[in-house]
Amino acid sequence: MARLLILGAGIAGQTAALHARRKLSRKHDVVVVSPNSKWNWIPSNIWVGVGYMKPEQVTFPLEPVYKKTGIVFHQAKAVSIHPEGDSTTSNPYVLIECTSQEKLGQKEKVTYDYLINATGPKLNFDATKGLGPRKNSLSVCTYSHADETFKHLSESIERMKKGENQTFLIGTGHGNCTCQGAAFEYLFNVEFILRKNNVRDKAKIIWISNESELGDFGMGGMFLKRGGYITHSRIFTESLYTERGIEWITQAHVKEVMEREIVYENLDGEEISIKKDFAMLLPPFSGVGLKAFDKNNNDITSQMFLPNGFMIVDGDYSKKPYEEWKPSDWPKTYQSPKYKNIFAAGIAFAPPHSISKPMTNPNGIPIFPTPPRTGMPSGVMARQIAYNIVDMINGKADEPKRKASMANMGAACIASAGAGFFKGTAASMTMYPIIPDFEKYPDSGRDLRYTSGEIGLAGHWIKHFLHIAFIYKAKANPLWVVVPE
């Protein structure tokens, strides 16, 4: 009998848990530890933030799903990993702290034979002074944040209906943020909803971002074939902003968020302030702060995690300049080099470096996006990790054989630009590979046969359909396995 322990029940954790449970016989345990009692389809949180959906439509309780599928569930947060056990046991274990009302604060040891760290990010609002829903800005990172943001948006709309002008500031709240796509979606949905409420003329909407140019999205942008030209996504994105009368500020590190104003530094090192009435600014991500200890209780956290809290896996983490980065630097199996029975999936693994070119201003502040690794890539790598572990448990392999490098993986991304069955639109983008390969594709870094982008109502239909399909899949409803990652 073997036990697979999965930390986290987001897209990566849930995908790994369901695939492992499906493939493993019942004599083996699949255990999930998550501090949340609900599963959240995060890509639809932006629709909660504009009132198109309610929080109940983007969440469901995890426990019934795990009961049905035979997965053991602990509502708890992981505190520390003990890969060699401790002085009392040689079995590896994870120390967890319960977060359910009945067992709040209780600590337990959960042993494992294989471990997947799919803990996702810590929303590091503290990285910027005044950033975050408890302070001076709003967020759509969680369904509760998005719900609160919608209340503030409704208040702003009411003020505009009474004749007031409002300034909306939407984007990233720090020089090292990722997930520009989510902020982009929220920006366009807000603009759409303001038009729908006939108050667009009262609103000044400003995008602020750490991207070097619009359309970078943390992936160095991409090239698309459009109208007889091979065009950078910057042109495509600038066109979308211009069409909607949205101003943009790029190369910005937000330094402080105040009640009615924000201060940012740009790449030239200048400090600039802007007035705002409404600010939805995403925080930077860090690891969730897991610690690791060896058998003698020595802290080995720095041997398993990078200083930003993300787990070291089989990537090339040597420091080298941008010009020397290679697609082969990116991890393939997501196995910890130190402990072969530990893996990391989704946001929890440490990328070897960014995808966009790193830039630093004269004051030494880095201003560039960190790599996105959510959604489709996160699900694909989680599935491959689960299959590798199943093979190792079943004695079919003694090391992970399946690979899921982001350098050999494509991604499809649907970015909503306004919700509605007849009037909604979304930008539909596909790219291959996610990590640009300028040796193989010297001009664009990507295969133009598989890299595309367009905006239209069909994109909205697809985004809505994916919302339904992925929640269906995460609930492990009949034939869930036919829904791809």
Binding site: T242, G245, T425, S428, T430, Y450, E454, G456, L457
Partner: protein, 48 residues
């Protein structure tokens, strides 16, 4: 609302014509695009 202000950032990017905007939400054309986009995404999924 005019989208272009001379010599400001909004002056330079391309903007869609009425024709392009119309087809973005035209049900028949978008149904066709829906099929094409699904094929594109399935091709991507099959590469994994």
């Amino acid at each position: 609302m005019s989208v272009r202000k001379p010599f400001e950032q909004s002056y330079y990017p391309p903007v869609p014509t009425k024709f392009t905007k119309f087809f973005r939400t035209n049900i028949v054309y978008q149904f066709f695009r829906f099929l094409i986009l699904n094929i594109k995404m399935l091709r991507m999924v099959r590469k994994h």
